[in-house]
Symmetry: D3
Subunit: 144 residues, 6 copies
């Protein structure tokens, strides 16, 4: 694990994206109409994601435990795809990119698990960092 | 959570895939030559993945806890990509698809976290089920 | 921890109750209209409760880990109170009373945490077993 | 999760109460005489409660992880009831009310689990905040 | 992780030992007289050990999750040493040696942590398997 | 749990040692040649140890959660013994001795679990603090 004892606290913000690809318009309609039998997909996946962000250092060996000071989730439906944006903030010595990516993956996996009974063709695609600020270098993913 | 009290135990096998896309041949060479500063990427990500599979029901609300009876990880390097295959087996009333997908995602995220200091362009793509047997319906992802 | 190696698997069902007492009709109205800023109270508390049931043996020293085969949550609004009923099922050597009570308490605490910004007077009252079947003795709480 | 990046660290103290209601004087006598077969109820429940306070952000989605700097437990026997007071302190940007309430509930549930073999009528009643200081507003529960 | 899908359930019992070596008779006297400021050492370490046994597969990558059906702890004081014996039972396809050893180590570490303020010279020595039955081969540590 | 609200942050470093005693030169040769069937012992045990350090407050009741800012593991082979040194750093109000000792014990237990199929005589010996700096008193174990 990288030694960060000599570093200073700064505000760090990271936004990661995960995309859940469904295979039918019916799935998207059921989600919108809150008809998925296991519950409200957006709300339950949000709860799982908020918890998941906090568990990142329990799962990734080199990841420093740090004070998560904000977590927010946005959903956007784009055709058959659900685009998840997970933003995490801390004031600490190291960034929250991996926390945001892990949180986004847990949101996506919870959706997969909830949608599985009604759509066998769901995939998770493109878990990536969209943006980070704070720290030595900022980053913004290029437009596609 | 779906009621499975009436179901019978059968052998269930699931294989999931996650792809880690690096952005330079140098990254791949460093991995192959065991030169990544945080440690041996394949071995440490395997340890994280074995633990991650077992933690799936701690992270996904509707997922049944079940006896994980085998977990195996294969790596394949394909150009700039590392293809992770995670296989999970149980003899139980419900399948292990989500466990395999979660495990594959944790392996991929551990790699991302270990590679981040040497390659800022790593992405995780296409976490999906490759194959499952046991249960009501088998599944094999179509060739691409 | 009690030795259960000599016991047989039977279907065990337990239902526990927790009551969240709010202090104003406005709180109840905001919940019903999905206006609580932290999110949908019923859905997020359900996700937390499903995970909480599974974590019971991580928190209570003498509690046996066991295969949770069903978890269900019902909500009833009664004046200023929200009545939570948590039902858990397993086919195992020991019962799921404590799992149901722990799950109900986590649902109630999640509600408390979500409602705190809009209602300072929330309390949790009466976490108790309503009913259990299976095992040596059945139980049904007396009508009040 | 509420954004607390702009807030300042202050000393926060919260005390929560949970009441375990036993159904017979024999139960109280067995506890006092350290005769409960599963072990010393007060000491084991204290250990579970100290761990439980620290796990609060693993269980409640919106709860910020924070540095628990003190946890203390007091027990009072009042007739057939055991009154648990759990005090938590931190120097941080947000309070520890929910941590104190969660800790008190884990102490109470551990007692329930340990007493179950000797008393089928145990209930947990009235998990509530007794007092908090620090933060924008102090709070003291009204005398009953 | 070893594939155990083809194996049969049998009763497995394992007993492991850990030794906590204190550095003064005063420490032993304080333990016996229940005067350690952090609480009753034997009871709190027992609670931590019961929980620790159940968390073994969360910490050791290759360890199968399995139904812990009994956990028992014995303490013996031998001069300045405290000898911890942890016995674990399951009816499953694989043994509980590592669970017993992990549990014994957590009991010993909890003691270390509780005794540290009154005795700076505490060490943990000799965590080993004393005995196992069930499975392909039994084992009994040679007398010393 | 000791009240540390009045204490100041200082750099704290602790190094703990655990010794894994194998019973044959063949075991040591297999480890060195990376021939242990479960995987690379040093790398997988390192991953488990990094995670284990962070989980210390989840397992030891009185242990304060704190920001782990560095974790490092060294291995030395000395005849049939593997000497594990685990160093942990934080800038906080309390030390990291117990974290280093717990991490070292998890590394040792992971080795035991990975070596068990090829060597039935493995033991863990002498988990102790080697050195600590920061805080009221420094400590250095006497040379043996």
């Amino acid at each position: 694990m990288v030694d960060i004892t000599h570093k200073n606290n700064t505000l760090r913000v990271a936004t990661a994206q995960a995309i859940v690809k469904t295979s039918s318009e019916n799935t998207i309609a059921m989600i919108k109409n809150n008809e998925i039998p296991k519950g409200n997909v957006f709300e339950m996946a949000k709860a799982a994601g908020l918890l998941g962000v906090k568990k990142t250092p329990d799962l990734l060996p080199d990841c420093h435990p740090l004070p998560i000071e904000y977590t927010g989730i946005d959903y956007e439906i784009d055709g058959l795809n659900i685009i998840i944006s997970m933003t995490v903030k801390t004031i600490y010595k190291t960034g929250v990119e991996v926390e945001a990516m892990h949180g986004a993956s847990i949101v996506a996996l919870t959706m997969y698990d909830m949608l599985k009974p009604v759509d066998k063709g769901v995939e998770i695609s493109t878990i990536k960092l969209l943006q980070k600020t704070g720290g030595k270098s900022s980053f913004k993913a290029p437009k596609e």
